[in-house]
């Protein structure tokens, strides 16, 4: 269908990139949604650089895609490039406006920079227009972890927004792991394990569980979860480094000094 428009002279916006035309019939059109899907896959597999690249490609095709901008900023936050994330957030709100999810990721960024006052402000703003998105509640929960308040309630609210979706659980695990305290890690494990009971074939959940177990020093459980993740998703590159970590902790001295429980 698209070949009918190839000969037309349409005065397109000069900065918007054109999606690449399929080389042959049946090949998937690499439009913004294609790159977004690829980016999301990489993102939840903790492959930040490929995810950032895909989100950038999606944003180049469709500059108005809030999800692409959100993904770019979130990838920069997870890569701990906070200043760049802040800059890119400023650009994002100029183009796509301030949405609940963008405000939530900005709140997460402020919390990870230990700028808690701003984090509270952004979190309040994101919750005012939260809608059905889980991210504002996850951001609030992460801030509550630092304030030693009831983060569990916020995470439960996030999960209740999309009860069958495993993605919020992965983000919750990521927040808990970044906090680093044993209580937070165990809280994250609780949410991941409850989802694994119904979606045991999701490799990302097994990866999250493996990382949580590694953080708690439960080496055997971590190894088992990571092995399961690598079996379910053999193309997942991020699991290899965690498997290597779990193997390195098998030595006597590693167990003696490294294992917490």
């Amino acid at each position: 269908m698209t070949h009918r428009f190839n000969a037309l002279e349409i005065n397109d916006a000069p900065t918007a990139a054109k999606p690449a035309a399929p080389a042959s019939r049946g090949e998937q059109i690499k439009d913004a949604q294609f790159f977004l899907d690829a980016a999301n896959t990489h993102f939840y597999r903790l492959e930040w650089e490929p995810a950032l690249k895909s989100y950038s490609q999606a944003a180049s095709i469709d500059a108005g895609s809030a999800q692409a901008w959100l993904g770019q900023i979130f990838c920069l936050v997870n890569l701990q490039e906070y200043r760049e994330a802040e800059l890119w957030y400023g650009k994002a709100i100029d183009i796509v406006g301030e949405g609940a999810d963008l405000l939530a990721v900005r709140a997460i960024l402020a919390a990870r920079c230990a700028d808690f006052e701003r984090a509270c402000g952004f979190s309040d703003s994101s919750l005012e227009s939260a809608g059905t998105s889980a991210l504002p509640f996850i951001a609030r929960g992460e801030i509550f972890l630092y304030a030693r308040r009831n983060a569990e309630y916020c995470f439960e609210q996030a999960c209740s927004c999309q009860p069958q979706d495993w993605r919020p659980r992965v983000l919750i695990a990521e927040s808990c792991l970044f906090n680093g305290k044993d209580a937070a890690v165990m809280l994250g494990m609780k949410f991941v394990q409850s989802m694994l009971a119904t979606q045991g074939q999701q490799a990302e959940l097994h990866l999250a569980l493996g990382r949580l177990c590694l953080a708690l020093g439960r080496n055997a459980e971590a190894h088992q979860a990571l092995e399961e993740a690598s079996v379910l998703a053999p193309d997942m590159t991020s699991v290899a480094q965690y498997l290597a970590q779990s193997r390195a902790r098998r030595g006597f001295f590693a167990r003696l000094f490294g294992a917490k429980k």
Partner: protein
């Protein structure tokens, strides 16, 4: 409105194209859309910044309180409790007597433990060094921990610069106030125990500066006993009493010449406390039966000074009547010099 990207006619009030989701206001889209949509990347690792952020995250924060609805008298009570004066009073009182209490109350357990351990360490060091010249150092160390804990309890995240500066100024005052208060408490405890502090010029022999001693009145004294004696008249108002060794008791013929004491023509077995004393020469004299021979060896009266005044002479005469000997000196602190009470 025609979509500039795909050409689809859209409603006038639509912001985005229904088909390709492009922004319909082509001017703003062209102006706002950056040329490059790849975000900038960090050129350095900023390791120290990240360490600082990690440390701040570990400290956590107190969730900001929001103003409550107006209730009668509620604003006045809550606003007073929030004032720096009230918080300062609580922090100072708690911080002085138990340096970490306010930290625990605020939920900062790690900090509370740190201050508590430091205070206990400083207090134990003070107790151990009491009676030595170093006890003042430990006292000021304890004052440092106390004042630091008070100031830490006063601070709150996000406070304006003026408040932070006032707290800094307060910290200097609190440090000296805590030190002086601790010193008063130590002196009060020493006085309550009935102890005395050996003056600073005692740097020799069995009694050293700073030692805590107890003076116990006795009926009889033996040569070699350390005693506290009062000066006579002239020196009483200036120095009070002095501490030295009993050289002899009872009726003896005494001569003091060239820093030697001679009892009945022989060199005395006991000598004054100060091994380097250079006392004035005394003409030979005979002691009474009840007199005690105690030479104030710290009083370095040089023979070159000339003859002392008559009242000085009387005040420092070495043969003391019993009423001028206050009692036997028993060392109580430091612990390694402690003597048993008679």
């Amino acid at each position: 409105m025609i979509c500039p990207q795909c050409g689809l006619p859209n409603l006038d009030q639509a912001k985005r194209c229904l088909r390709c989701n492009a922004l319909l206001n082509s001017q703003s889209a062209a102006a706002a859309a950056p040329a490059d949509l790849t975000p900038p990347r960090a050129t350095s690792r900023r390791r120290w910044q990240k360490l600082l952020m990690a440390w701040k995250r570990r400290q956590g924060f107190v969730w900001p309180s929001y103003p409550r609805p107006d209730t009668p008298g509620d604003n006045d009570a809550s606003s007073f409790r929030e004032t720096l004066a009230f918080r300062a009073a609580v922090a100072i009182l708690c911080g002085f007597f138990l340096p970490s209490w306010r930290q625990f109350h605020l939920g900062r357990r790690a900090r509370g433990r740190a201050f508590l351990y430091a205070a206990v360490l400083a207090f134990v060091a003070l107790v151990i060094t009491l009676g030595t010249p170093h006890w003042r150092l430990c006292l000021w160390l304890l004052a440092t921990v106390q004042s630091w804990s008070m100031i830490d309890a006063l601070q709150r995240p996000g406070a304006p610069l003026g408040e932070t500066l006032r707290i800094c100024l307060l910290s200097f005052f609190l440090f000296f106030a805590a030190g002086l208060a601790d010193r008063m408490l130590v002196h009060s405890a020493i006085a309550a125990a009935g102890w005395e502090i050996i003056p600073a010029y005692y740097q020799h022999g069995d009694l050293r500066a700073g030692m805590l001693v107890r003076v116990v009145p006795q009926d009889h004294y033996q040569p070699g006993d350390l005693v506290a004696a009062r000066f006579g008249a002239y020196y009483d108002a200036r120095f009070g009493s002095y501490y030295d060794r009993v050289i002899a008791t009872g009726s003896h013929h005494v001569a003091i010449k060239d820093a030697h004491v001679y009892i009945d023509g022989h060199t005395a077995e006991q000598q004054p406390l100060n091994h380097e004393w250079r006392g004035m020469n005394w003409q030979p004299f005979t002691m009474q039966d009840n007199e005690v021979l105690v030479y104030a060896s710290w009083l370095q009266i040089n023979a070159d000074w000339g003859d002392p005044y008559p009242d000085q002479l009387a005040a420092t005469r070495p043969n003391l009547p019993p009423e001028r000997v206050r009692g036997k000196v028993i060392v109580r602190w430091p612990l390694w010099h402690r003597q048993a009470m008679p």
